[in-house]
């Protein structure tokens, strides 16, 4: 227990209390004392640790901050039960059952991989329990396979692709090449891109498409095939080790010279840090330039995070923090842990978070949390973003009639 007090004190000293105070407003001050509200949080802590460990850290930070300021629902502390989802739907379904039955969790949150997210969402629907899908990006979770009990926090593949495509407005490049990892995320990003790019640049022609297997890009062959098609511009969806290999090969062979590049997720610290000084310049990316966000609440969270974990925040940290803020607000609003009450309260719920206001659109149960779009640039030996701007998710959500059509057929 001593460890806990020390870290808490450190966080407090660094101004974590500030964020909490602004979060819960004038609610009664003082440590939460009532029966804890348990939330089952399952994620790929083992296999996707680069994302999920900063995510869990930020969740703990946010929960501690809220609890110290009086908790939720008039004095009850938030308690997260963290579990590994085994990165497979079969394991995740068992862990979810465990959290709901043996751990007495009021509801579920988390998951990373889209197939795991969808399986847990369906299980939540079957068991009539709330599921806050945080990270899975697949459009299906709020569209064709959306259900009453599943709400997603993070901007979806469609939303992030649309942000990038909007950023390409006014460009003149007509010949585009697409490179995407060969699984659902990559395929649907490519499909969304093909659908939307015509709105920004009329008369676009897709001259090459490459779909290397996830985690196994043959960079030489892929870059060769793209060069051969002589595109004016490239839409990239690769990330992680695939991206590093692709960028290195592309830099050496001049693939990115005089070419306009749109790239999903590349500006997130998780994927930018490993690129090091090979980070290409001038790409338009979605990402998280945490050091450039000028917003008092956000700064307080960054300071508290850095003080407590001795590390810089990642995109996962931001998502974890925002998720806890939204959940706390939801519990206060519903003032109940009954699933039906939570679902009704969650629809169109507006929460104040470190990224600003986030609304859970009732129609497709997708939050309006946005992300930053900007241009990559090298500063010293590390990449970052410049001219970045926070795009509110509300601007790029699926059109309402499309949601109705998709969710009706589900």
């Amino acid at each position: 227990m001593t460890d806990l007090t020390i870290t808490r004190r450190a966080a407090l000293a660094a101004g974590g209390g500030l964020a909490a105070a602004s979060l819960v407003g004038l609610r009664a001050q003082g440590q939460a004392t009532g029966a804890p509200i348990r939330i089952g949080e399952l994620n790929s802590y083992s296999r996707m640790a680069a994302f999920s460990v900063p995510y869990r850290n930020a969740m703990q930070l946010a929960a501690d901050t809220i609890n110290r300021a009086g908790g939720v629902m008039g004095g009850r502390p938030l308690e997260f039960v963290f579990r590994d989802d085994g990165s497979a739907p079969g394991d995740a379904a068992r862990v979810a059952e465990d959290l709901l039955t043996r751990e007495n969790c009021a509801f579920l949150a988390g998951t990373f991989l889209s197939n795991v997210g969808l399986a847990v969402a369906d299980l939540a629907n079957q068991r009539r329990k709330l599921f806050v899908a945080t990270e899975p990006l697949t459009d299906a979770i709020t569209m064709a396979q959306g259900n009453r009990y599943t709400f997603r926090i993070r901007p979806s593949t469609y939303m992030q692709t649309r942000m990038l495509v909007e950023a390409a407005r006014g460009k003149t490049q007509k010949r585009w090449a697409i490179v995407a990892p060969n699984y659902e995320y990559g395929q649907s990003a490519a499909a969304n891109f093909k659908r939307l790019i015509g709105n920004s640049i009329p008369g676009v022609e897709i001259v090459a498409e490459q779909y290397p297997a996830l985690g196994r890009v043959d960079a030489g062959a892929t870059v060769g095939a793209l060069l051969q098609a002589r595109p004016d511009a490239i839409f990239n969806v690769l990330f992680g080790p695939d991206l590093t290999a692709f960028v290195r090969e592309g830099n050496t062979r001049g693939l990115f010279e005089r070419r306009f590049v749109l790239s999903l997720l590349t500006g997130e610290p998780e994927y930018m840090l490993p690129l090091g000084d090979e980070c290409p310049e001038g790409w338009i990316v979605t990402g998280y330039p945490w050091e450039q966000v000028e917003n008092a609440q956000h700064k307080a969270y960054v300071d508290a995070y850095r003080a407590r974990f001795n590390d810089t925040p990642r995109k996962g940290s931001l998502l974890g923090y925002v998720t806890v803020q939204v959940i706390a607000n939801l519990l206060n609003k519903a003032n109940s842990t009954d699933s039906e009450a939570l679902v009704e309260a969650f629809k169109d719920l507006r929460s104040d978070t470190v990224v600003g206001p986030v609304t859970m659109r009732g129609l497709d149960q997708q939050s309006t949390m946005g992300t930053w779009v900007g241009e990559t640039v090298l500063r010293g030996r590390a990449g970052t973003m410049r001219n970045s701007r926070y795009v509110d998710g509300a601007e790029v959500m699926f059109p309402e009639e499309e949601v109705r059509a998709a969710r009706r057929s589900a």
């Binding site: 296999r47 497979a88 862990v95 079957q126 659902e184 490459q210 030489g220 080790p241 050496t252 001049g254």
Partner: protein, 617 residues
């Protein structure tokens, strides 16, 4: 297409081939001498990369010279070689006498442990290594720019091949390696110090894997997923080339390198499956790979691994079986919801494991791809329910039919082979099935899978579904058990023990094996269908390699020499996994350690340990 592009694309293929060969040569050498299919070879590759991104930048601090870069690479490989020696001394040496499959399981335990050790030591963030000094630039070839480092890599493969040739033909150590590859027992009988030979071979094999990993750092970043992504590819290379043949591995690597370089132009979406299609095609035409030889021991009467004397239940055994069934039946009255869930899964896995041991223990047909039939059964059931709107009952009937039908189709080719090549062909078919489920998005939902596979209303409560699973699973196990004791089962055992003798007394070996394979596939399919309805979803992980490995782990833990052991193994394995997963983020390390401990403590499996206990009593 212009010639410049074709040349450069071919060079890219050569560079990949060269890297692949360096790694594959190590695996093929180790297999040739020790007969161990070393899953941990991919881990050595990953460790090589991690060592290099640690050692090389440190060396380059002194002087950015190409020499220091390559010294760093060689030093990293040497460190990995020593880790290989450690694995041989601490683990493999203790289990050379146990069935070969057990060694495979132990190396899989090492894979799990290394994954988490790497996560702990180097952290979760990918680490990009430095570029090679002096080789950062591109070289112009017919107007196309090509990385100088890859030109260099193209030469590494042939140089390694040449050095290995010299080692094999000009040194005593190499000659012993060749002799042991040809006939391991004979080498031992002639008084060669086998322990030293094996340790040396493991050093060489791990060194080559580490070298392969270290040489990659200017191209790819070191990441925790490198091991699994390389190991299947390297298996394919060694199998196509012929296990134990270094030259064969070289040819196979060239073939695969070019196939991928040009495959991405023609079929950008199916690169995942291209290499496995090639492997299946090669094995159907050349059952021992391009340059492999039939196993020398194949004609010798050796004591086979598997069920030797399928003893019927004695009194104690019958009592235990009855108690186990009774426990399952009364459980819903006492157990909580979660325990019921776990028991349901154990029953499903017990059926899958029993059907696998029907092949492995009874038929000597070692399948590395049994999850394919499990998964295809699940897909058949799931798709019928969600796409055609059929109720659960006909869908559950369709599951074993689908599993059996695909087992019949794949089995037709599989039963023509034997030993490790047979195992690899089952793996290839499983990967092809996996890729189809993964890629055929319109029908299978791709990697997202399909959700909404829930039981009919009457069976939707956990209690009723548990009883349903128990009835199907125990019924199917009893039926398979009956077949095992029937003349058909005995015929399969005869064919396993000596194909020639079985043939000589008029048994149609191939047809019997084929029917056995189909039957086991059908049982696995039923298990898959039951699993799908218990989870509510289907997705490609059900057909994946880790799932197949789980099944193998279950039967090995249970003991492949015993009839009922696999059931025990399924329960034990699932219970261990369920117990360690919530404990820590490093649960894979614990799972791996538990597997290794069980292999060391119960080298005949839990069932074998029980049989020994009974024999002594």
């Amino acid at each position: 297409m212009e010639p410049g592009f074709l040349v450069v694309q071919a060079l890219s293929g050569l560079a990949s081939a060269s890297s692949l060969f360096v790694i594959a040569s190590g695996l093929t050498l180790v297999f040739g001498v020790t007969r161990i299919v070393n899953f941990a070879h991919g881990s050595f590759y990953m460790l090589g990369a991690y060592m290099a991104v640690t050692i090389v930048p440190w060396l380059l601090e002194f002087d950015r010279s190409p020499w220091l870069f390559f010294i760093g690479v060689l030093a990293s490989a040497a460190v990995v070689g020593l880790l290989g020696v450690a694995m041989e001394l601490l683990l493999l040496r203790r289990i050379y006498k146990v069935p070969e499959l057990f060694q495979l399981l132990a190396t899989f335990g090492v894979v799990l442990m290394v994954q988490d050790a790497v996560l702990k030591i180097w952290g979760p963030v990918d680490i990009a290594g430095p570029r090679a000094p002096g080789l950062r630039h591109g070289v112009y070839i017919l107007d196309q720019r090509f990385p100088a480092y890859e030109l260099f890599l193209i030469f590494v493969g042939p140089v390694v091949l040449g050095l290995l040739w010299l080692l094999m033909h000009r040194t005593r150590f190499g000659i012993l390696i060749r002799a042991a590859t040809r006939d391991r027992e004979m080498v031992g009988a002639l008084g060669v110090n086998q322990a030293l030979l094996f340790t040396g071979t493991l050093f060489l094999g791990a060194f080559l894997a580490g070298l392969g990993g270290a040489l990659q750092i200017p191209r790819v970043s070191a990441s925790g997923q490198m091991d699994i992504s390389i190991i299947t590819e390297v298996f394919v290379v060694t199998v196509i080339g012929g296990m134990g043949s270094v030259t064969g591995a070289f040819l196979a690597a060239l073939l695969i390198g070019q196939l991928q370089a040009f495959g991405v132009l023609i079929f950008p979406k199916i690169t995942l499956v291209l290499v496995f299609l090639l492997m299946a095609a090669v094995l159907v035409v050349k059952p021992w790979g391009l340059l492999g030889r039939p196993e020398a021991a194949a004609g010798r009467a050796a004591l086979p691994e598997g069920i030797l004397h399928p003893a019927p239940f004695d009194h104690v055994g019958r009592l235990i079986a009855l108690l186990a069934v009774a426990a399952v039946l009364v459980l819903p009255l006492f157990g909580d919801a979660y325990v019921m869930k776990v028991v349901t899964e154990v029953l499903v896995f017990a059926l899958a494991a029993f059907s696998l041991n029907f092949l492995v223990g009874n038929g000597g047909i070692v399948s590395f791809g049994h999850a394919a039939y499990f998964g295809l059964g699940a897909y058949a059931a799931g798709l019928l329910v969600t796409r055609l709107g059929l109720p659960m009952e006909p869908a559950l009937l369709a599951a074993p039919i689908a599993g059996g039908a695909f087992a019949a189709l794949f089995g037709f080719f599989v039963v023509r082979l034997s030993g490790i090549y047979l195992a690899m062909l089952t793996l290839a078919f499983a990967q092809i099935a996996y890729a189809v489920c993964f890629q055929w998005v319109e029908v299978t939902g791709g990697d997202n899978g399909v959700v909404g596979v829930w039981p009919s209303a009457w069976a939707s409560s956990r209690h009723v579904y548990l009883y349903l699973v128990a009835a199907c699973s125990i019924g199917a196990i009893l039926a398979l058990r009956h077949v095992l004791y029937a003349p058909f089962g005995a015929t399969l055992r005869a064919a396993r023990d000596s194909e020639q003798r079985a043939d000589a007394i008029g048994v149609d070996v191939r047809t019997h094996r084929w029917l056995g394979f189909t039957l086991a596939g059908a049982a696995a399919g039923l298990a898959g269908g039951l699993y799908a309805f218990s989870k509510g979803s289907i997705d490609p992980t059900l057909l994946s390699i880790p799932m197949s490995v789980d099944f193998l782990a279950m039967i090995l833990l249970g003991g492949i020499q015993t009839v009922m052991g696999p059931l025990l193994g399924a329960a034990a394995f699932h219970a261990i996994k369920d117990a360690v997963m919530p404990l820590t983020d490093y649960w894979r390390f614990l799972l791996g350690a538990a597997i290794i401990a069980l292999v060391l403590i119960f080298p005949r499996g839990l069932g074998g340990a029980y049989a020994a206990l009974r024999a002594r009593a």
